[in-house]
């Protein structure tokens, strides 16, 4: 059975969770604070535990869900005996009955252990405040959205990421032209000089992030970039206490494809910038090969917020370290029309008045 790690206060036995404000673990009951390192003992078991994959959970899930809800796992809370349900990737959660934070050690054991984590720097209150800011000052947002939409859920999640280092080799050929023109009394002359331009070389990239969870929208995660990598710390399960976490389910080879796309674009732009002094440059052919250097597995903090409005689901996310808040908002079509008419008439009237006054004053 995969070990469920619960974080209990050594003083009073209450559950403790990672406090982003203090950057320490804090007991909700006796207010005692603990450095993350103090609970390192818990992590020593990680290397000893067999990775969760190795266990056959099929029979268990089949018994419970009958109709074939594949990939669901069942755990039992050590504190209250309540059943905790999660998918095969769930790595950290809270018991739905007693609220105790639990970490499923198997998900991070052995090879699956993350290299880095950026701990949460901003708490739930900050996320809600950021949401309020995000909704304010948007003239075309339907007014009821701010009032009537209620947060369906707000959860702090450590999202698994792959961070890729890569070395790119590029070999690009361009067709370029230089233009000269002059004229005499009867003709205008244009001289076009045609060139073949080539550039080759290498370019390095560091820690290009790719979302390693299928469940999480890649676009949403890319919109939250950048994370400040100077705050990457060695992984300790204690950071996860009080938050949700998943292990990756997109392997690094598949994830690298996405990194490759972005890397390729940046490389082409970088080399193109070295071709100077021509009036026009077009790419004739391009070979850009990225070789994956080292790759790191990191857990990065994200606050997910979810609202329902007029039958539609709206997803928002906040970078748990930098506070960057993103999420698409609905458009109030009536307000748009109103603004268009108002501005057209207003500006037209103003321009007309100014032009009339301008003439009157200067004459």
């Amino acid at each position: 059975m995969a070990r469920l790690q619960e974080y209990k206060c050594p003083c009073c036995g209450g559950s403790i969770a990672f406090n982003s404000g203090l950057q320490k673990l804090k007991c909700d009951y006796c207010d005692t604070e603990f450095e993350v390192e103090q609970l390192e003992a818990y992590d020593q078991a990680l290397s000893a535990t067999t990775p969760a994959d190795q266990f056959d959970w099929q029979t268990q899930s089949a018994e419970w869900y009958g109709s074939g809800e594949e990939g669901m796992r069942l755990y039992v809370c050590n504190s209250c005996g309540g059943e905790i349900v999660g998918d095969e990737n769930m790595a950290a959660t809270a018991c739905p009955f007693c609220g105790n934070p639990v970490v499923i050690m198997g998900q991070y054991a052995g090879d699956l252990k993350p290299d880095y984590v950026i701990p949460f720097k901003l708490d739930k209150a900050a996320a809600i405040k950021a949401m309020e800011n995000h909704l304010s000052g948007k003239r075309l947002l339907p007014a009821p959205f701010k009032d009537k939409s209620h947060l369906e859920s707000i959860t702090g999640v450590y999202v698994p990421f792959w961070l890729f280092d890569a070395t790119v080799t590029a070999d690009i050929n361009y067709k370029a032209e230089k233009l000269n023109s002059w004229s005499d009394s009867s003709y205008r002359y244009t001289q076009t000089q045609h060139f073949n331009v080539s550039r080759s070389g290498t370019l390095n990239f560091e820690k290009v992030p790719v979302d390693g969870s299928k469940k999480v929208d890649d676009k949403l995660m890319e919109s939250l970039e950048p994370y400040d990598y100077s705050q990457l710390t060695d992984f300790r399960t204690a950071y996860l206490a009080g938050y949700l976490a998943d292990r990756y389910d997109v392997d690094d080879t598949s994830a690298f494809e996405r990194a490759n796309e972005r890397i390729k674009k940046s490389t082409e732009d970088a080399f193109r910038a070295t071709v100077e002094g021509f009036s026009s440059v077009t790419v004739a052919d391009s070979t850009v090969r990225a070789t994956q250097g080292s790759r790191k597995y990191a857990l990065l903090p994200v606050w997910f917020l979810n609202t329902m409005w007029e039958g539609q689901n709206y997803n928002f996310a906040m970078n748990g370290q930098t506070g960057k808040f993103v999420g698409d908002l609905p458009l109030d079509k009536k307000a748009l029309r109103r603004w268009r008419w108002l501005l057209t008439l207003g500006i037209a009237a103003a321009v007309f008045l100014v032009s009339v006054l301008f003439w009157k004053i200067s004459h």
Binding site: K138, H194, N204, R262, A270
Partner: protein, 284 residues
């Protein structure tokens, strides 16, 4: 008791007085009659019909019209008709004649010169001062076009149209700060100004609303990995620029021929007395 000589003295005195009054009245009437048409309180006569083209009533109505236009526009508008077919040179002298008549420096004068047998007419407009500015060469062309078109209506309608046009051009000038130039880039007519403002308004509002709309969207895929480039890691190991060939094309320079007066404005010349006049003439 009145003596017989005293009665005679009184009578004589009265007779002298009445005679003096009568003489004065006659003099005034003569003075009035000396000028063609009715004289205005300011002493200016606007219509000088030496060729006798107009009847008394026509002259009177035109005098009133020209006086009205002159006072409204601030530019004195005068008319001189003559059946002595003369050249430009003499016409300028006659413009000075109006000046001596207390016409202001800002004036527009219409001369109608008939050939002695009255078969040919030479219409000539002379402008001075503000008149030069208000009536540009192309504006004068337009006036002549209008006068030619109104030939069927007789001199009264033509001269009246002339006065109206001067009034129109002056209004335009005062409103827009630029003289009326048909066929040349001219200051925006109020309606055009309105359309122009509406177009600006439309595009500005479009830009503003697109900007507002874009604020609602904050989720998008990353385009590149710019942030993750290792600093100074770009190593260009091979760079080559190979010249292939060159070709030269040429295009003939098109000389645009301007039809009519493309520059606009008013051409002027100096008269024998040293005044500057603008204007133009046409036979019809």
């Amino acid at each position: 008791m009145k003596t017989k000589s005293g009665k005679h003295t009184n009578l004589f005195k009265r007779l002298c007085l009445s005679a003096a009054v009568a003489l004065l009245c006659a003099l005034f009437t003569l003075a009035a009659a000396a000028t063609d048409g009715s004289s205005s309180a300011s002493g200016k006569t606007y219509v000088h019909d030496l060729a006798g083209l107009l009847s008394d009533s026509e002259r009177a109505s035109l005098e009133a019209k020209l006086k009205d236009v002159s006072s409204r526009t601030g530019i004195d508008v005068g008319l001189l008709t003559d059946d002595d077919y003369t050249s430009d040179y003499a016409a300028q002298d006659r413009a000075d004649l109006f000046a001596e008549q207390n016409f202001s420096e800002d004036n527009v004068l219409l001369f109608i010169d008939l050939s002695p047998d009255r078969t040919d007419r030479y219409w000539h407009i002379s402008t001075s001062g503000l008149g030069i500015t208000v009536l540009t060469d192309s504006g004068i062309d337009e006036i002549f076009d209008e006068l030619e078109a109104k030939s069927y209506g007789g001199y009264t309608s033509q001269i009246s149209a002339f006065a109206s046009k001067v009034s129109e051009f002056t209004d335009y000038y005062r409103e827009n700060g630029e003289p009326y130039e048909p066929g040349v880039d001219r200051a925006l007519h109020p309606v055009r100004k309105g359309i122009f403002s509406a177009v600006i308004g439309f595009f500005s509002s479009l830009i503003a609303t697109v900007n507002m709309k874009s604020k609602l969207k904050s989720v998008s895929s990353a385009v590149n990995a710019e942030r993750y480039k290792a600093v100074n890691s770009l190593n260009v190991s091979g760079a080559n620029e190979l010249f292939l060939y060159s070709n030269v094309t040429r295009a003939p320079i098109v000389v645009s021929t301007s039809t009519g007066r493309s520059g606009g404005g008013s051409s002027t010349h100096h008269s024998s007395s040293g005044h500057t006049h603008g204007g133009g003439g046409r036979h019809f």
